[in-house]
């Protein structure tokens, strides 16, 4: 049985379609109910919906053989998994944003509010800037407005939320998209199935780009 962890939400639904096209369909997943686990015993496949940020945990610990996770999560938590394919969907960027009239306070550490402490730490280390991290779990955009931080490091998709809060992107740290990941041990023992999926997804991406 191949276990696949999908991120709950729109991205997960898009990703499932790719698996379906690869020949790993599981019709029950489209039923409108609150179930989280779906099986197609004929094909030897089991899907489950998990919180997007948890996909890499399920895969790293072998509860899922493969899964789809955002590059932001992979950079932040650095799970010990194979990153097999950039699926080129769920595209956005990790960026530094601040108030439009922001001036860099060179005489003290920069206060950075973020959910992604490791990404922020690594970025500012690479440019040699001393920072204080303020770890927040949501509504990051209000931190600079209320004076809690100088800037934020967060995911920016369209930039609308930033604009509406009078903030702007100052620097792009890294582009983000969804990635197909695999548990390292599962890849050794379920190679054929995983490579079949991988190959089909590569083909689908080529088709899309044509």
């Amino acid at each position: 049985m191949l276990n696949i962890a999908l991120p709950k939400g729109r991205l997960g639904e898009k990703v499932y379609t790719m698996f379906e096209k690869a020949g790993f369909e599981c019709p029950s997943i489209k039923e409108n109910n609150r179930k989280l686990i779906f099986e197609n015993t004929e094909l030897g496949i089991r899907y489950f919906w998990v919180k997007p940020s948890d996909v890499s945990i399920y895969v790293e610990h072998g509860a899922a053989d493969i899964g789809v996770a955002g590059k932001d999560i992979l950079l932040e938590y650095a799970p010990d998994v194979y990153e097999l394919l950039d699926l080129d969907i769920g595209k956005c960027r990790m960026a530094v944003a601040g108030k439009k009239d922001f001036r860099n306070p060179s005489q003290r550490p920069l206060r950075v509010a973020t959910k992604f402490a490791n990404i922020a730490k690594n970025y500012y280390k690479s440019i040699g800037r001393d920072i204080d991290i303020i770890h927040l779990n949501g509504s990051i955009e209000i931190a600079p407005i209320l004076g809690l931080s100088d800037v934020i490091v967060d995911i920016v998709e369209t930039g609308t939320t930033l604009k509406e809060n009078n903030l702007e992107v100052m620097e792009t740290i890294v582009p983000i998209s969804a990635r197909l990941i695999a548990n390292k041990a599962s890849f050794k023992f379920k190679t054929k199935q995983i490579e079949r999926i991988l190959e089909s997804m590569r083909e689908q991406l080529k088709e899309q780009k044509k």
Binding site: G62, Y82, E83, D86, N183, A185, S186, K188
Partner: protein, 375 residues
């Protein structure tokens, strides 16, 4: 005394089998202290699996460390003698902090080290013992083998910057072909050089299929010499019936600061991570001012709890309950009699909840009465 298989946990069984295997190949047991001076590790921190070393101050005011690694201690005590290879195995606890939670963990490791004037035979023997170690634990295993020389030569010819090479090394470990392409594009690397790196990252298969492809890909004498060494190792594995479970796979990309030649990692079906890791670490030897070469590996026994032991339907063969008035000797004799055929006997005054027993026996007025038979 004969012990049935059921008596041993997976870890205990593995320790006995591995000790037997290593002794058969002339390795001798190495015992060491639980502590080392902190300073000894701090200069080569990158070699250690975990960054955080657990330290304490001893009565002389010296900063000591609970041993996070065995290899470095063994190197310290070995001697460089021309033509001689020191072959030792160990069964030790190491102390590390878990990356996710920061919790302190005591991990039991079994492993071996081959230090000294090592040659192609010593290398092939150690890789063979790695494969046989996995086989001892479970027949359904995979040993991934790569060669740092091949990766180093391919990176050298690519023209990537040091930062770029580090990124590509990480990408090798993740089988992340798209990251290799990104890094090479960013640094303006020619397409054919990028293609070689991508091809190496994708390669994975039994040695007889992969080695001919590697010969075609060779870009330098160093590359070809490394392929020839992999070929020797593969022949050794094939002769000993292990080829089917080995793969040449360059996702085993150890730290180039310490490792130089063959590197390998072992997996067992049902365990979510690697259970064995090793390689040739001549560069670490040099850093520790040693002229000899070295190769070794460790088996992480703490991972074996993932393999479910064939679970019995019963917790105990016989549950013996007795009246309050029963004599101690009466109960003792009944246990002696019932356990004579190797049966397990649990004595209780009352039947414990959730206990699964094959037979329920009650000792009443010096006589044993069978109340229940479940098998």
């Amino acid at each position: 005394m004969n012990f049935g298989d059921a008596v041993f946990e997976n870890e205990e069984k593995a320790i006995f089998n591995l000790r037997k295997l290593y002794t058969e190949y002339g390795f001798s047991k190495y015992k060491m202290s639980k502590f080392e001076e902190y300073d000894f590790y701090v200069r080569n921190k990158d070699f250690l699996v975990s960054d955080n070393i657990i330290t304490f101050t001893d009565s002389d005011g010296k900063l000591m460390a609970l041993k996070p690694d065995v290899t470095m201690s063994i190197i310290k005590s070995s001697k460089d003698i021309k033509g001689f290879v020191q072959k030792v195995y160990y069964n030790e606890n190491v102390y590390r902090t878990s990356g996710d939670t920061g919790q302190v963990k005591e991990i039991m490791q079994v492993g071996l080290e081959c230090i000294g004037d090592i040659d192609d035979y010593s290398i092939a023997e150690v890789v063979l013992l790695a494969a046989k170690s996995l086989e001892c634990i479970d027949k359904d295993y995979v040993l991934d083998i790569s060669h740092m020389g091949i990766i180093a030569e391919s990176l050298a010819q690519s023209g990537l910057s040091d930062a770029g090479r580090n990124e590509v090394m990480n990408a090798f470990g993740e089988k992340n072909v798209h990251a290799i392409v990104d890094v090479c594009q960013k640094e303006g690397i020619k397409e054919e050089k990028t293609a070689l790196l991508c091809e190496l990252s994708r390669l994975s298969g039994v040695p007889s299929q992969v080695i001919p492809k590697l010969k075609e890909l060779s870009v330098s004498d160093g590359f070809s010499a490394a392929v020839s060494q992999l070929e020797d190792v593969s022949e050794m594995l094939k002769t000993n019936g292990c080829e089917g479970c080995t793969r040449i796979d360059f996702s085993v990309a150890n730290n180039m600061k310490y490792y130089s030649g063959v590197a390998f990692k072992g997996f067992i079906n049902g365990i979510p991570g690697g259970v064995l890791s090793g390689g040739q670490y001549d560069k670490l030897m040099k850093k520790l001012d040693r002229s000899a070469g070295a190769i070794g590996f460790a088996v992480y026994l703490d991972m074996l709890h993932w393999i479910e032991k064939a679970s019995s339907d019963f917790d105990v063969d016989v549950l013996l309950i007795y009246d309050q008035g029963a004599e101690v000797l009466e109960v003792g004799n009944a246990v002696k009699e019932l356990s004579r055929n190797g049966k397990s006997v649990m004595v209780q005054r009352e039947i414990p909840k959730k206990l699964r027993y094959r037979q329920l026996i009650k000792l009443e007025k010096g006589k044993v009465n069978i109340l229940e038979n479940n098998a």
